[in-house]
Symmetry: D2
Subunit: 275 residues, 4 copies
């Protein structure tokens, strides 16, 4: 340690990360994880318009060439904090490109997941309430261009067709968590994905249900039984029919009410060639 | 099941929860847990003023007398959802009282925890960044009145005095999570608690640190070693000196860098009698 | 830092924790958290006898008098590691007393929670399978004596009485998690608590269910609807009837299949005076 | 629903899952998740021999052809539960093959993760203690053969080279979590991976450290600073030198003591072509 390092001035401090590395090992992704930051989401006109402010958990990475000792972690956070009050989803490609530029990297990735609220109305009484979902965006910028994913996790009801079929009355049902991440062209909203996810379940959820609503959702789920396989297949059919979408990965996790373990199904499809 | 139940109208549906219970067992707390809802927090003038919107995780409970079969879960959610865009901390006593009234209960409790951002400036370069904390409010309303707690969890740096003392160089340090929940009189801000928590650590955290800042926080933590016991005691000394506070429960969890387990200390004190 | 500290010998190292503290603040609990250690559990004869080895998460604390600067964290771990391959529940009072003695403390606490397996047989086909529960022990030793709690968390099925009553067919049901912690006299097994918990649900769970079993559990849950309030009350009735138990705290969390939030009920009772 | 379904006999029940599906969508993976089951691990002779029993979290999946409506979830659990007291890692390929056969599937996957204990001796005082790691196995069986991965997550100490270089004294350090999953030929033990992971850190962890040990690990970490990039690169160098390994994916997550977010690096390499 040299005496110069007792000086607080930034100009004389050694740049340890900037040194040359001789191990000849490139790193796929290096950066910061579990950063918490405000995000401001635009609501589409069909959902009432305006904005909602919520909280994102963010990962930011770059690829690190074999000859560079380290990345500069503080620059990720500087780029993010240059969005003073909150960033918007529409800022993400620019943020990712800026990270790639500031870190002088071949590739940069920016992932954010966040709670997202949609105002829904109970099916019979029309009581309004806010339903919460998890949304996500994943953006990667390389020399070849920008890759962008949008995702939603929606809890829903699944009711077992086998249990219904073999039982004299009743059918086991449970909360499930359905997820889709999509690549798309044109304009697509988180609300569009929420709708697609909820249509694939036995029944969608609401935060407030009065008795006539509870009767409705109970009977509707019973009329609409779905295996975990049916949920992902019906979701796939729905996404296949959406001309904007050219790739997706989807899954459902069913928190079985008759077991202490979960049922799960997943599939990933590139559908660009079909359209 | 009677044929009237095939009618969707609410007036003819039986109120199962409203029946009389004969088991003669009162329930301390019954209600809803892990509700997600927007919260809108006022920033004090000294922190720049304005508001920030974030996301709360909420529990709402009532006491249930021995002779009542069930509470009406949907009413908790109706009261909460009557705050359309978001509720504010100042609404909490009224929400809690309203829950007690709507559920006709001897006691009602409303707990909310949420991410909270404070704009901070790096110690040397003064680079601005947002630092995230977890805040909480707990409110209970009974015939006797209203009880209100405010809490903050702040991550910080702890540096081990023993390791420093016995080692020729270096000292193990780690992230710790310090928490305080307080009962107070008069006006008190989340920022006031954040300041008290951070003063009790070896060093506070920042989201952005440039090299001169990193040098500063490294040296400052080394000059200011603290056992987990020192953190809670120094925090207790700080809270004891605050005339507004008459009760607190505090803890620190240190994610030891030399072990796979954590160090922990906690204490609870009523200080009303001292003031 | 003195030059003596460059010597690795333990005899000359300063005992920083042993110093006198002048802040005059006693600490309720200080120690280690989230320690992972093997535990060896005896199975009762009625469950097949023998032992099962599993993994415990352990917290160990002592009270720290106001005049002592710090506790000696390594001694907690030394006491635990003196049980070479694994400790047994029957060792816990001695471990706790040893911690109190080694740390020269007014009170010591030892908490352990662990996965516990019970071999069960499907209700119709009698297919065997292992069902997993979380068990726990909490022990506190003071001058006044030893306090010992045993706890179990059991997942189960809950089926909503209101949904069943108002719907033409079906009823929403879901996984719930029922918990009891008890103080008792005489001999009591984790299996005894598991039985009490499962009897209070709409239906118990099994790891393997063939179709005739699935029909059985579906119909049985439908015939046996329970609000979260009914679960804790029926559990209370069951525990009240057990002459060994003189205190308990119980709860149920129902992961509602029609909501994204949970229903919850809890009550704590001292029943020693009734027996 | 036919009247035959009120009969409990399995022979007359309809096989809903066995029906033909017309949506023409194959499912990549369907099965059960978060199953808890005992696992019995053989300790190598160099680590004292014998066995340890611990608890695994298990996922089991099959690929589902487009024309099949559903998989038979209970069969996964039957195969697993045919290992009465516990399964062993050496059973995993046979379990996976059996699942593929019982479910008549093109591919089957079996993943298990579990706590694993290694007896270690403090570096100076040689005090023995058990250190806990997370191990994992992932096995996939297709027509083409069997693919097998072994993984370990090891917590360790990382000390920042930049902080050390620029500071007059001290250096920020923290707990990190290093992970490797490898494909290999021949015999390889979890202990071998643990050793490789711990060598790549600034310092390994121990459950018990007396003062001379704490001095040792503090000084050793200070003498051995590592960025998160250095940890994964040094680990890569170590794995590249192991002739048994032909593929790996590795990462390190550093729980920064000066930030509330984490530093992270990861890389994946196929090294079969080099050997």
């Amino acid at each position: 340690m040299t005496s110069s390092t007792t000086n607080n001035g930034p100009t004389v401090m050694p740049d340890v990360q900037g040194k040359v590395d001789v191990r000849n090992i490139a790193i796929d992704r290096v950066g910061v994880k579990n950063v918490t930051y405000p995000i401001r989401l635009v609501r589409p006109e069909f959902a009432g318009g305006g904005e909602q402010s919520t909280v994102a958990t963010i990962d930011m990475f770059v690829g690190l060439p074999a000859n560079q000792k380290g990345t500069h972690m503080s620059r990720f956070m500087e780029v993010l904090n240059s969005y003073d009050q909150a960033f918007r989803p529409s800022d993400i490609p620019a943020i990712t490109a800026k990270i790639r530029e500031r870190l002088d990297a071949p590739a940069a990735t920016f992932n954010a997941s966040f709670t997202y609220f949609v105002k829904k109305f109970a099916p019979v009484t029309k009581q309004p309430s806010l339903m919460d979902y998890r949304g996500s965006f994943e953006c990667t910028v390389t020399e070849a261009g920008t890759d962008f994913l949008m995702g939603v996790q929606a809890p829903a009801t699944s009711l077992c067709p086998c249990s219904k079929e073999i039982s004299a009355y009743g059918a086991h049902n449970q909360r499930c968590l359905i997820e889709a991440k999509v690549k798309f062209e044109g304009e697509m909203w988180l609300e569009d994905l929420v709708t697609a996810l909820e249509r694939s379940a036995s029944m969608e959820l609401f935060a407030v249900l009065k008795r006539p609503d509870e009767k409705y959702v109970t009977e509707r789920a019973y009329e609409n039984p779905k295996f975990v396989e049916d949920i992902v297949r019906d979701l796939a059919v729905g996404l296949d029919a959406d001309k904007r979408i050219h790739w997706y990965t989807i899954s459902s996790t069913n928190y079985e009410s008759i077991h202490s373990h979960d049922a799960f199904a997943t599939l990933t499809r590139s559908v660009g060639s079909n359209k």
